[in-house]
Symmetry: C2
Subunit: 186 residues, 2 copies
DNA sequence: TTTATTTCTAAACGATTAGTTAGTTATTGA
DNA sequence: TCAATAACTAACTAATCGTTTAGAAATAAA
C-alpha cells in the first residue's frame, strides 16, 4: 500500500564507496553523494540515517571486496608465500587505470585517526584484527611456534598497513620491489 | 612610523604546526588556528596570505625539526645501522605522552593525496626526495653498487613512509618489533 | 602635536556544510 | 475509485567554512 523504492541500497552504496575511497570522508560531501548515488538526500537519510551511516555501510561493502582476496589466501594453504601473493593481489586491487586509491580502511584510519566516531573506530579495529587473524592462520602452515606466529602476524599486518599507505603515492614498480624486499629474508 | 606587530611569526607557526600535525589539514579550521596561534584572523592573513600559506610554513617548520634527526644520520657515518637508528629516533619524535601523531609530511600525503594544492604537492615531493637522498648517502658507506644504492634507498623511503603511517595506530612495542624485522635480513 | 602608517578588533561576507521538512507523486489494499 | 502509505522533489534550516573589510588603537616621523 505504498510507493516503491526506485533504487537498490546495495547498488547506491557501491557508488558511494567509490567516492569515499577516492576522496576520503571529509572531502566527500552529501551534495556529491547525492549526485554519485543518483538519489535524493531524503532517500539517503531515510535509508542510512546519516553521512556516518552511509560511510559505515561503505566500509562493510569494501570489506566484502577485500574478503575475496583474503578467502583466496585462506584456501591457498601456501603460508608466507600466500601472504606475499595477497600483497600483490592487493596492489592490483588498489589501482585502476594507474590511479592509486590505496585501501579504504587504511585511508580512513589515517584520515580520521583518534578523532573518528566510536562506531567507525570499532569497525576499523575489527577489520584490522580480522586481516591479522587470516595472516596468523596462513603462518600456522609454516610450523612456527605460537609466539612466532603472533609476532610475525604483527609484522605482516603492520607491513600491510604501510604497503596500503605507500601504494597511494609510490609507483607500481617501486611497490613491487618493496614487496620483494619484505619477503626476501631468512 | 607605524604600530608594532605583537607576535613573532616563527612562534605562532610552531603552534599552528602542532595543530595541523595532530588534526590534519581539513579538520583544522581558521577559528581553531586563531585560538591556538593566539592572534586574529586579520593577522594570520596579513602574515601568511591564506590557510594554505600557513600550512606551507608549518610544513617547512616541521621539516626543520626532522632535519635534526637527518643531520645526526648524515654525520654518524654508520650506514644501514644509522638508518635503523633514524627509524627509532623518528619513533620517539612522533610520539609525546603516548599520543602518536605520525609524520606531518606522511599524514599530509595520505590526507590530501592527488587533491592537494600544487604548492603543497611540490613541497611534499621535495621533502620525500631529500630524505631519500640522505638514505642514499648513508647507504654509500656500505660499499654497494650505484644500482644497489638506488634500489635500497627506494626500499627504505617506502619503509619510512609505511612506518610513519603505522606509528599512528600501532603501539610503540609493535612498531619496535617491526623496525627490527625490517633490518634483520641478509 | 599632528599626520601618515600599520596592526589590531570584530563584524560581516558569500559559499558550503550536514541535516530537515512541507508538499507532491506514485503505489496498493479496500 | 478512493483512502492510506511510503518515496519522491526541492526548498529550507542553522551552523560553519575560508576570507574580507570597516573602523579603532597604536606607533613613529615631521
Amino acid at each position: 500500500m505504498a510507493r516503491k523504492k526506485e533504487y537498490l541500497e546495495e547498488e547506491v552504496i557501491e557508488k558511494a564507496m567509490a567516492l569515499f575511497w577516492k576522496n576520503g570522508y571529509e572531502t566527500t560531501s552529501m551534495q556529491r553523494l547525492e549526485k554519485e548515488m543518483g538519489i535524493n538526500k531524503f532517500s539517503i537519510y531515510s535509508s542510512f540515517g546519516s553521512k556516518n551511516g552511509v560511510f559505515v555501510e561503505c566500509l562493510n561493502c569494501y570489506k566484502q571486496k577485500l574478503n575475496v582476496l583474503l578467502e583466496k589466501l585462506l584456501v591457498s594453504d601456501k603460508g608466507i608465500e600466500g601472504i606475499k601473493e595477497y600483497f600483490y593481489d592487493f596492489l592490483e586491487f588498489s589501482r585502476d587505470e594507474n590511479s592509486p586509491k590505496g585501501c579504504l580502511i587504511t585511508n580512513t584510519a589515517n584520515e580520521l585517526g583518534d578523532n573518528a566516531e566510536p562506531e567507525i573506530k570499532a569497525v576499523l579495529l575489527k577489520f584490522m584484527n580480522e586481516v591479522r587473524a587470516v595472516f596468523a592462520e596462513a603462518l600456522s602452515k609454516e610450523g612456527l611456534s605460537p609466539d612466532d606466529i603472533e609476532s610475525k602476524a604483527d609484522y605482516y599486518i603492520i607491513s600491510m598497513f604501510g604497503l596500503a599507505s605507500s601504494s597511494k603515492i609510490f609507483t607500481k614498480d617501486q611497490i613491487s620491489t618493496y614487496i620483494e624486499s619484505i619477503f626476501n629474508k631468512g
